[in-house]
């Protein structure tokens, strides 16, 4: 073997250990990302493949999956729960059926629905986020559920991440695949940052009355299956609440009154001391407090 080939062989033997060392060193030196894309993918992939083993299932939009912590409620009630919330989820009969299918046959069988005006906007009713994850093929699911857990800590960094580290800005998300909850916090918090996007959305879209009627008509069917249905309005800031109520012409109150007339629970829990990091979503600490109150309500009203 000539000299160059010998040198190349020696160099090649170094390649794998050197690369591994460099990867490890960089991983240790880089600051941890406040939100991991790998964990996010594992989380969403797992959410759509749960088995029907739960006593309580919570469903709705991002206010639900960031606002209700099943583990906290389990601590209060002893009931095992799962958060089946999705981004911009629409409260369609199909979503409700999918959520109800996660309830164990023999258990408390409680379905908690996070109702917001957004749940009935045309863009939400397509449930794009839910179906994106439901329609992933088996190869993708296998990758995300079996291979991705081995890659935790090797998230990609954008240039802006370093800029945010320097400025002390972060949007922290803690994904809990076992419960479907995402504990979220933002620094610096700005409880009015979501106001403008929502205002723009309400200018472009209005809630579909047919969708509201279909939703309310679905509830007795769920009850007939032995499911206790509880409707809640996830806390937002007063400013956001006012905008939603005005833009929707009091849609939430309309829904609340109609479901109460049908005998469904629609508790109004105390919000006043809770914090939102953007006006629309609870921060993680407030989510735990709210979840505890919800848990006590569920326990006290069996």
């Amino acid at each position: 073997m000539d000299k160059r080939n010998k040198q190349a062989r020696s160099a090649l033997l170094l390649l794998a250990p050197l690369t591994a060392l460099l990867l490890l060193a960089v991983k240790l030196l880089l600051p941890a990302l406040p939100s991991s894309t790998i964990e996010k993918d594992i989380f969403w992939s797992g959410k759509t493949t749960q088995k029907p083993v739960f006593d309580i299932v919570y469903t709705g939009d991002s206010r639900v999956y960031r606002g209700i912590d099943p583990r906290t409620i389990e601590g209060v009630t002893g009931l095992k729960g799962f958060n089946y919330g999705f981004s911009s989820a629409g409260l369609t009969p199909r979503l409700l059926d999918r959520a109800a299918d996660l309830l164990a046959d023999k258990g408390a069988r409680i379905l908690v629905l996070g109702v917001s005006v957004n749940s009935f906007l045309p863009s939400s009713l397509s449930n794009e986020h839910l179906y994106t994850w439901l329609n992933k093929d088996r190869k993708d699911r296998f990758m995300k559920q079996n291979i991705y857990p081995l890659l935790k800590g090797f998230d990609a960094y954008a240039v802006s991440d370093f800029y945010k580290f320097y400025k002390g800005e972060e949007y922290r998300e803690k994904f809990s695949p076992a419960t479907g909850f995402v504990g979220s916090d933002k620094k610096p918090a700005d409880s009015s940052s979501a106001i403008l996007p929502y205002l723009e959305q309400f200018q472009e879209e209005t809630a579909e009355q047919d969708a509201v009627d279909e939703f309310i008509q679905k509830l007795p069917e769920l009850r007939s299956k032995g499911i206790r249905v509880v409707l809640v309005r996830i806390p937002v800031t007063q400013e956001m609440k006012t905008i939603e109520d005005v833009a929707s012409l009091g849609l939430y109150e309309q829904i609340r009154d109609r479901v109460r007339n049908l005998g469904f629970e629609c508790p109004e829990l105390n919000w006043s001391d809770l914090q939102s990091y953007d006006g629309s979503h609870l921060d993680s600490e407030s989510a735990v407090i709210y979840s505890r109150r919800l848990g006590h309500y569920l326990l006290g009203n069996r």
Partner: protein
Amino acid sequence: MLFNSIPFLAFALLFFGFWSYAAKSNVSKWAWITAMSFLFYGWWDWRFIFLLAGTGSIDYWCGKLIVRRPSSAKFWLMVSVLTNLASLGLFKYGYWLATELDKLTSLAGITTQLASSLPEFTLILPVGISFYTFNSLSYTIDLYRRKAQPARNWLHFMSFISFFPHLVAGPIIRAKEVLGQLEKTNPVSRVKVLNGLQIIAWGLFQKAVLADNLAVFVNNTYGHMPEDMLTWWMCMLAFSFQIYFDFAGYSTMARGLAKLCGIHFRLNFNKPYRAATFGEFWKRWHISLSSFFRDYVYIPLGGNRLGKFRTLYNRWITMLLSGLWHGANLTFLCWGAVHALLLSFDKPLFFLRNRLQLPAVLLRIPVFIMVLLAWVFFRSESLAQAFEVLGFLFGKRMSVSPSELLQSNAAVWLAVSLLIENGWVERKSRIFRHKPVLSVIRIALLLTASVFLRGPEQDFIYFQF
């Protein structure tokens, strides 16, 4: 499976893990390449393995008959050409043509439902069909022209057609260049293995870091269609480099993978944005495709040997076909037409460069800007969107401050892209090529950068062709 994916890593480990055993004899080598390449191809959709094997087999037998029966060689060549073009036409253009015909007939008041009457399987575009069809065509055409030797047997031919590095997104390889290389059974030297790994690492960096990061800004801008002029100039600048590094990255990885098997692929991109004329651009961009169209369309039509008018005609036909090859959409046809038009301006550019001795950089800038504007048609989903984007580019509406754009992720990657294209990175990293240990350090650095700085995973742009 994408080259920059974990399933491909597992595939590559399996392929190269047994390569040294398989490569001991030609038959076992060709069988191993064919079997594994079918596995690679079938990962997308196993049904299209039959299409690949079927059309490949037809071309193999046509090739045999072209050589064995010279009196009917033209007939067998036509069989091969028609089979390949029919397959390409059906899967790639069938639905589009049917839709356009339905629109045309509806203008005349006649209702036809050609698009909805097409079988369902024709609606799926087999990955890589444009590439392996052209590979196959080059074989039979070169055999007919007696510029190539026939494959030894069916396995030899299938290993050439299906060879996974080039199968789904090129480069378009010529049988006369690769069939001979597939017959060599010498073990690949360690130096070549090291070179191959360097090439792969560089290609991975181009794709995973540069192209995928730039894609975020481009997709976001096209998704929201803001009216701001500066944003659109930045978007098209980003797209110019996104498509370049996406495709060049893939081609580079393909070259590196082939090198690990002892096969040499020609360079497919040679710093195209340093071109000082449009003709030069086409000698540097997607070289394997432009040379295919030159050798099998432009020159057979007469090239530039039959007078000015015929040269112009041949150039337009070639560029329109080149545009259409990229996809079944009028936007690609327009893109080809724009380049045909731009090539008409090469004479003045030659004059400026050669007679007036203008510095190349002064010519590169206008050439690059025109190529960038042509990309608008390539990226846009419709002609209406393309003209809308052109309107924004020259609309003078500025609602975003330049400093805001310069602070974006895209600005950083654009700066890196410009340094790379300008040759600065190459000059500074030359030292890494001289010693094997330094090469290994370079590979490790590129791989690490590709892991931690990768953009959100995007499909290779040219997979859709």
